[in-house]
């Protein structure tokens, strides 16, 4: 069997049992990266460092030393997160020479768990975008259909897992940047509870919303990776339940929205039926302020980006090198947080965020989780001209969850015209393993 077809958990067991070496796994990933290079998932590859680390992992296993749950497993990291000795470009020409002198905290945790970092993944510039076409290093091409986008901003991270170039990847999610590309690429994308994964060493977009999370092939792999990077402790030994009997699932009442593609709506309906068929009770959930969430999100994220980006992009030369979407969001952010707009728009958005969050929290008082589509559509054609104001609605289901700071996972379920559809499962704060259990049940019925 081609070892790139193993899941992360399968590979971890195979390495621990000495059936596969870490070196073989790393070499298999780089062979796969070269074979599918046109997908453009990586900005920087760390091949020599990865082979060196793999040899050390193999030595440790051969000696019988205790090893971590990700020992020898090749993992990719989004290029807005520092890996010591590698560039952190944020896919921007403005930072093309920035080399990290220390590991981000999440990378330190991955390495402590034994993971091998194989490279830095492509993304939308400064995580601003939902297609991965806003990259100074070129667009990524979807591994399922290379005429389609991967989604974004963690497009390279989602797509390298879909293309079997890595067993798992780290992404960041501000308003859907892990979940939406996971949906477009047919993989599992976990956005944890806000603050539960340390963001030290990450170049953020909007700190009140930013989260670091995982992209994996299935929910068991997500549990293993999340357990290794979360502040709450180790991921080893966690077994996801997946039993839906006695569980109550809230179904967000939003299917009348005309932006929702019929194929996505159909897949969502099938997901609901599938959960009911294995014992879940479903109830209708109304979130009255849901429609305002995407607007609130864009006011707050643009305002924060315009403020915090100044820390990283200082010189006139760097500012000239910024792409169009970044400039658009900086100007938007300044506009909504200056003059009379500060109270009319920015302060209003802060209050609206509280209302939206309280509606979600109230809904989750009566449910174990709430589900809705991850995105209203599937991956569009690369290069298709979509107005920014329309593209922003790609995150219309993901952004409200970010505003509320809740954990959510996108799980592939069904297809629309041959392209994968993601179902978003939203949980209470710190309920990551519970929503991954529901995701596991759903994935088993795909």
């Amino acid at each position: 069997m081609d070892i790139t077809e193993f899941t992360l958990a399968q590979l971890s067991s195979a390495i621990a049992d000495k059936r596969v070496s870490a070196t073989e796994a790393v070499k298999a990933c780089f062979a796969r990266i070269r074979d599918t290079e046109r997908l453009n998932n990586f900005i920087t590859l760390c091949e020599s460092a990865a082979l060196r680390d793999a040899a050390l992992a193999d030595e440790a296993i051969a000696r019988g030393n205790p090893v971590g749950p990700l020992c020898g497993v090749p993992i990719a990291v989004k290029d807005n997160i520092d890996v010591r000795g590698s560039r952190t470009t944020c896919a921007s020409a403005a930072l093309s020479d920035r080399v990290a002198d220390a590991d981000a905290e999440v990378v330190r945790k991955l390495k402590s768990a034994g993971a091998i970092i194989i490279g830095k993944t492509n993304m939308d510039e400064f995580a601003m975008g939902s297609t991965n076409e806003n990259s100074a290093f070129g667009a990524t091409l979807n591994a399922i259909d290379d005429t389609r986008v991967t989604g974004g901003s963690s497009g390279g991270s989602a797509n390298c897992v879909a293309a079997r170039q890595a067993y798992g990847a780290i992404g960041s999610d501000t308003g859907g940047s892990i979940r939406q590309p996971a949906a477009y690429c047919g993989v599992v994308g976990l956005k944890p509870t806000h603050g539960v994964v340390d963001r030290t060493g990450m170049i953020g977009l909007a700190p009140s919303l930013d989260c670091i999370g995982t992209l994996t092939r299935d929910c068991d792999d997500a549990a293993l990776m999340f357990g290794s990077i979360s502040k709450r402790g180790s991921g080893s030994g966690i077994t996801l339940d997946g039993d839906m009997r006695g569980k109550t699932i809230g179904i967000v009442d939003l299917l009348c929205d005309d932006r929702l593609e019929s194929g996505v709506a159909q897949a969502f309906y099938s997901a609901r039926k599938a959960l009911e068929s294995v014992g879940a009770k479903t109830v209708r959930v109304v979130l009255p302020s849901f429609a305002a969430a995407i607007l609130t999100y864009h006011i707050l994220s643009s305002a924060e980006a315009s403020y915090y980006l100044d820390k990283y992009v200082r010189s006139d030369e760097q500012k000239r090198a910024l792409g169009g979407e970044v400039k658009r969001r900086i100007i938007t952010g300044v506009y909504v947080s200056s003059g009379a707009r500060y109270d009319e728009l920015y302060a209003k958005a802060i209050k609206t965020r509280t209302v939206i969050a309280s509606e979600y929290v109230a809904a989750l008082e009566n449910c174990d989780a709430v589900i809705c589509p991850t995105a209203p559509n599937t991956a569009h054609v690369v290069g298709e001209k979509i107005a920014p104001s329309v593209a922003h609605y790609n995150d219309m289901y993901a952004a409200p969850v970010s505003l509320a700071g809740l954990p959510a996972v996108s799980v592939p379920f069904g297809e629309s015209d041959g392209l994968p559809v993601g179902i978003q499962i939203v949980g209470r704060p710190n309920d990551e393993f519970a929503i991954l259990g529901i995701g596991k049940a759903l994935q088993s019925m795909r």
């Binding site: 009140s208 305002a303 300044v334 209003k348 609206t352």
Partner: protein
Amino acid sequence: MCKITIDDIKVAEKLARLELNDDERNEIRTHLERQVADFAALNDIDTDGVLSDLGRAGDALPRAEER
């Protein structure tokens, strides 16, 4: 619809310490005008009595003029 002028964009450029060319300025003006019109929908949300963002009012950003 809210009217946004090129001068409004130039003011924002100064506050952001960012210089746009004429094409960028026009494109952003059009985009921002549409987006700000959409933002008016927030007025439908009743926020009377809502004091802070999840209890973290101290996290609010300074005004762009004060940065």
